[in-house]
């Protein structure tokens, strides 16, 4: 991965240290004119064509240290030029505003604060309308260290080098972390033990050993840990419990303890009882319909961790801090190491709820007489959504769906925009909801048209909604549309992977005819055809919005 660091101040040391850490980075050629280098198609920057560009704008330098009306114009101008400078491909991280120095003490609530707020709002709105631009948490890094440790006036005077070696190191660490985030697949589920993990002590013995969970001392450490976990949950991490307790004792604490920051509904699923934890985790994986390789297991007991590690090598089992005062930091470690995503989507904030809704659906299923009864009682409603407005989610689904994925093609940002602009291709996207909640956008299908024939090149659906025959409704919808446009034939394709076995028989179930089957090594490819003058009677229970 090639990166570039551009700024209006001297970032030479940062670039040098990144190189020393093994990053492929564009050498510095002076500083300032960062947008000019981006606009100039013949510049060394443009020829280098980095995958990620990190832009650090020293806002004080940008406004020439003059917090007047003109400062707003400078900021507007910067973002307008930046808009013209970014090319279709490539990702951009732009640092948020950090204001420092003695000037800020003169009228501490005055225009200077206004202006850095203005810059941040401009950045936020820019990011919301540009999917390949993200915010770099520069201000957080600087404030974590504090100005007296992070900033060096002398080096700034001598060479416009603002950052101390300490700040330089922390900025480099964050740049490397962000670059890694772009490439890794995040984990989804955090499975937590209870005793001595979410609270201190053992529950069920509260007459002799009251549990530690309170507003001071060690009890507050556990509460603060729970607060970090709650924040993670609000940002898309699915929480679950695997503990060895009497369920009633544990639930009494979870439901009633005044210092539980986490509430019962914050956990998407739970296994509380005297089962082995590896079995509990396998059960949770089934209940949530999520691959066990997306699980992270946290337990204070080294024996439990060892057991899970041995029996479920696919799951992540991190260390547990010896010093429990470090629990909140441990929470942050878990987030950054396993769950953090480069960009949070609206889907992420609802995700935890969607999974706990799913567990309720399974309970309904268990209570229904027949599967059809169950599907009918779900009251599923499908809605078509615009692919152009949800390009992020489209790419996410195409690249991350493993089970319900017929051809498992992966797409870069550039390829997604190519597909969106290709007139021969039609993209269908759907969201689903039912009486238990809104699942958000859950399926995407790409069809390529040539004359009176279309080929379904991609078809993915979230595993959260698998097993509800939603795919039948989708194929009916797609066929109806093409039939009305005069299309005679639809072709479907299945390419096997290690994970998409569940959809191997999909086209056959839909009434498509197998016309070709090929085996290369482990990979099986099946081609299907369907004449649109035949209208199969597919049974499903879906209403359209």
């Amino acid at each position: 991965m090639k990166i570039a660091v551009l700024s209006n101040i001297n970032m030479d040391l940062i670039i040098r240290k990144l190189k020393g850490a093994g990053m492929e980075v564009l050498p510095q050629e002076g500083f300032g004119n960062e947008l000019g280098r981006m606009l100039d198609k013949a510049s060394s920057y443009s020829c280098y064509a980095p995958d990620i560009t990190f832009l650090f704008t020293d806002v004080l330098e940008l406004i020439d240290h003059e917090p007047s009306e003109r400062a707003y114009e400078s900021i507007d101008k910067w973002f307008n030029t930046f808009r013209n400078a970014i090319q279709g491909k490539g990702l951009y991280y732009v640092a948020n505003a950090y204001v420092y120095g003695v000037e800020k003490w003169i009228n501490p609530t005055g225009l200077m604060v206004e202006i850095s707020g203005y810059y941040d709002r401009a950045l936020k709105s820019f990011v919301s309308s540009h999917k390949n631009v993200r915010i770099f948490p520069y201000k957080q890094i600087m404030e974590d260290l504090g100005e007296s440790v992070a900033i060096n006036t002398k080096t700034f005077l001598m060479g416009k080098i603002l950052h101390t070696t300490k700040a330089t190191d922390n900025i480099c660490t964050e740049i490397i972390h962000r670059a890694e985030l772009e490439e890794r697949t995040p984990k989804k589920v955090l499975v937590l033990d209870l005793d001595n993990t979410l609270w201190g002590g053992l529950c069920g013995e509260d007459d002799t050993t009251p549990i530690l969970l309170s507003d001071s001392g060690k009890g507050l450490v556990y509460k603060n840990f729970q607060r970090v976990l709650r924040m993670m949950k609000d940002n898309g991490v699915i929480l679950a419990i695997a503990s060895k307790n009497n369920e009633a004792d544990a639930l009494r604490i979870i439901e009633k303890h005044p210092h539980m920051a986490l509430k019962p509904e914050d956990f998407a699923a739970r296994k509380i009882g005297w089962f082995n934890k590896d079995e509990s985790i396998r059960e949770l994986s089934k209940e949530l319909s999520l691959g066990i390789d997306s699980f992270v297991f946290v337990d204070d007991s080294p024996n439990e961790r060892k057991l899970v590690k041995m029996n479920i090598p696919e799951a992540e089992v991190p260390y547990f801090p010896e010093d429990i005062e470090k629990l909140p930091e441990f929470g942050l470690f878990l987030y950054r190491e396993f769950f953090e995503k480069p960009r949070l989507t609206a889907e992420d904030s609802n995700k935890a709820k969607q999974y706990s809704d799913n567990v309720k659906r399974k309970e309904l299923e268990a209570g229904s007489k027949t599967f059809d009864d169950y599907l009918r009682s779900l009251g599923t409603v499908l809605k078509k959504v615009s692919p152009g407005e949800n390009a992020d989610r489209l790419r996410d689904m195409l690249n991350k769906t493993n089970q319900f994925n017929l051809t498992t093609r992966r797409y870069t940002h550039e390829e997604i925009s190519d597909v969106l602009n290709d007139p021969s291709k039609t993209i269908f996207m759907y969201s689903a909801r039912d009486e238990f909640g809104d699942s958000g956008i859950i399926a995407a299908l790409i069809a390529k048209r040539s004359a009176d024939e279309v080929s379904i090149t991609d078809f993915v659906m979230s595993c959260r909604v698998m097993g509800r025959r939603i795919e039948y409704a989708i194929i009916d919808d797609v066929e109806d549309i093409f039939r009305s446009e005069g299309v005679k034939t639809v072709r479907g394709k299945y390419v096997s992977t290690a994970k998409n076995m569940p959809v191997e028989g999909l086209y056959a179930d839909l009434g498509y005819e197998l016309v070709n089957e090929e085996k290369t090594g482990l990979e099986v490819t099946k081609d299907y055809i369907h004449k649109l003058n035949i209208i199969p009677d597919r049974k499903y229970y879906v209403n359209w919005e």
Partner: protein
């Protein structure tokens, strides 16, 4: 103080302890280029509250000269 200053220089340059002594000349240390020189002067002020005057800082050619500047 001399020990502390030398340790700081080695730390900023990211080189082994004991590589620098009072007689070391800047041009003989590969890592000690103009950028790192600026960083050393800056970190002296930041970490040890030693302020080397700007115009003289740039003239320094050896550890000994730097020490003499600091010691006044």
């Amino acid at each position: 103080m001399e020990g502390k200053i030398i340790a700081l220089i080695e730390d900023v340059l990211g080189i082994e302890k004991g590589s620098i002594n009072r007689n070391t000349r800047i041009e003989d240390v590969e890592e000690w280029d103009s950028l790192m020189h600026v960083m050393i002067i800056g970190e002296l002020e930041n970490r040890l509250s030693i302020s080397v005057p700007l115009e003289e800082a740039a003239e320094v050619e050896s550890v000994d000269e730097l020490m003499k500047l600091i010691e006044g």
